[in-house]
């Protein structure tokens, strides 16, 4: 019995110690409360002391960042174009005490944060025209201006102790009924481009044909000119030689010319009808004596 009492006396401080020590994981933050009132906020992991239950309670929160997918919302741009916008926010608990007081839990915090993101995104998009919605902000590399992120981050930190790491648009689309008019425009534009290609083709073809025809005409004209030149040159040479012969003896030249003419007139079926006293052969009879 004495042993049992000794054991109990030894176990009691051990149990007390076990109830007064706890560890906080690197993925958690916690608030130590005393009868519901916050006593300490713990942001760093490690081994901590506490008063045993029911004096102190440790309320833990997941400190890892979460992706909040905001439901697609239909918004109006300043030029009255409807857009369906899907945003997301990445957030984590930064101040567990404020977080637990203001939101109580992840679901409630995400509902509030979702509303905040939607309203800020709607305000930002309502201020600009569709073309500017589609322009990327150079500081964020995103379609949303940097001010939306800083605004959401400041407000969320103040209101429910949450750090917002990122807010972006994951999709900017059109309502289904508005897609039709875009399709009409896309079809018209494609038709224009297709027609342009086809008539460009015709234009090129006509140009190529016309050029070929012109080149052909030039080649032919040049050849004809050269041929005429060759013929003329030959005729000139021949004429000079004939002229030389003529100068040597005009009478013989004329006689031979006449003979030539007679010969050339004759064909296979030539019928020569000659009056017996005719002067057809006059050239032969006549002549310088």
């Amino acid at each position: 019995m004495a042993n049992v009492r000794a054991l109990a006396l030894g176990a009691l401080p051990l149990a007390l110690l076990a109830a007064s020590v706890f560890t906080l994981d690197a993925r958690e933050v916690a608030v130590v409360t005393s009868f519901g009132a916050p006593v300490r906020t713990l942001l760093e992991p490690g081994l901590y002391m506490r008063a045993p239950w029911p004096l102190h309670e440790v309320v833990r929160c997941d400190a890892r960042a979460r992706v909040l997918e905001v439901a697609p919302t239909e918004l109006l741009t300043s030029d009255k174009k409807n857009l369906v916008v899907e945003a997301f926010a990445i957030w984590r608990v930064a101040d567990p005490q404020k977080f637990l007081e203001a939101a109580g839990g992840v679901a409630a915090a995400e509902a509030q944060l979702g509303d905040l993101v939607t309203s800020r995104v709607a305000a930002a998009i309502g201020k600009v025209e569709l073309q500017d919605v589609l322009a990327v902000d150079s500081t964020t590399g995103d379609l949303l201006p940097a001010s939306v992120r800083t605004d959401v981050a400041t407000t969320a930190a103040e209101r429910f102790g949450v750090e917002v790491l990122d807010v972006r648009l994951r999709h900017v689309g059109l309502p289904l009924q508005n897609e039709q008019s875009i399709y009409e425009r896309m079809r018209a534009e494609r038709l224009r481009i297709a027609n342009a290609y086809r008539s460009e083709g015709e234009e090129q073809a006509t140009t190529i044909r016309a050029r070929a025809d012109r080149e052909a005409a030039e080649i032919l004209a040049k050849a004809e000119r050269e041929a005429a030149f060759v013929t003329a040159k030959a005729a000139e040479t021949a004429a000079l030689r004939y002229a030389e012969a003529y100068r040597a003896d005009p009478a013989l030249y004329e006689l031979l010319g006449a003979l030539d003419a007679y010969e050339r007139t004759l064909g296979e079926d030539t019928v020569l009808v000659l009056p017996s006293d005719g002067g057809f052969f006059e050239a032969l009879d006549r002549g310088p004596e």
Binding site: R64, I90, L191, A216, L255, L256
Partner: protein, 286 residues
């Protein structure tokens, strides 16, 4: 107080086994594909690479992260607005690996969801920067690269410990409702080419034809010239041949020539000699 020998022995064995079990729980084997993150009292103490590692019981815990594995996220097909307010359907597949196991384990509850969201946002923004023609022709690679760069910057800024390996564009196409119109543009491009080729074919037939004709003309002119020359040769040779005789005795030469002419005429033609004053009736020319 003395225990019976048997009980004593059992106690010794039990203590030994307990000791071994405690020792065994200290040793951990880390797979080559993994890194183990060791927490002491909840805080990150160290990481263990492949091989045998040691971990204190009770005060330390560990988590294994697969680091060599390439993870894959398939993003749903999106209908995105281009810079010229056309619509295109885009479907991406993301591959990533863990670059920093500690960040990967600690910072985000669901790193894959972060990767998906950031790549989605980057694709949305990049498509909004590009025109539909650029996107659908040469823009695929540019889109991949730009999305990868932008998403990686975001993931780094968010301390995800993730390294993107590849962004694959599984599909990038105009929506079904307008796909015919886009195909018509492609066939119009083809038509343009066909029309041009037909014209080229025409040109490459016409030009050689006409060159041939030109060569023919040239040859004809040359042969005509040669003929002219040859005839002049002949005529002049005959003239030269007759000249001495003619100069010596004209009448004899003329008589000789007349004889030759009559011989030729007799060979070729029919001769009718009629009395002077005979009326000639020529057959109708028709």
């Amino acid at each position: 107080m003395t225990l019976p020998p048997l009980a004593h022995r059992v106690g010794t064995v039990a203590a030994g086994l307990l000791g071994l079990a405690v020792l065994a729980s200290c040793v951990m084997v880390v797979d080559p594909a993994e890194v183990a993150v060791v927490y002491r009292f909840g805080a990150v103490d160290r990481t263990l690479g492949a091989g045998l590692g040691f971990r204190l019981p009770v005060v330390e815990s560990s988590e294994r992260i697969r680091v060599t594995e390439v993870r894959r996220v398939e993003l749903p097909r999106r209908r995105l607005l281009t810079a010229d307010t056309n619509l295109v359907d885009v479907e991406l597949i993301v591959q990533f690996s863990v670059a920093d196991p500690v960040l990967f384990a600690l910072v985000h509850a669901d790193p894959e969801a972060v990767v998906a969201a950031e790549v989605d946002a980057a694709a949305n923004a990049q498509v909004a920067e590009m025109g539909v023609d650029a996107l659908l022709t040469t823009g695929r690679t540019e889109l991949q690269q730009a999305v990868m760069d932008a998403a990686q910057r975001s993931l780094d800024a968010l301390a995800t410990g993730v390294r993107l390996v590849a962004i694959d564009v599984r599909s990038l196409a105009p929506p079904d409702a307008v796909v015919n119109a886009f195909n018509d543009v492609s066939s119009a491009k083809g038509d343009q080419e066909t029309t041009r080729l037909a014209a080229d074919a025409y040109a490459s037939k016409v030009l050689p034809d006409v060159r041939g004709k030109a060569a023919q003309l040239e040859q004809e002119a040359l042969s005509g010239a040669a003929q002219l020359d040859a005839r002049a040769d002949g005529d002049i040779a005959r003239f030269q041949a007759l000249l001495p005789a003619w100069r010596a005795e004209r009448a004899a030469t003329r008589t000789q020539l007349r004889g030759e002419l009559w011989a030729t005429i007799g060979e070729k033609a029919t001769i009718k000699v009629v009395p002077p004053g005979t009326e000639l009736r020529l057959p109708d020319a028709r």
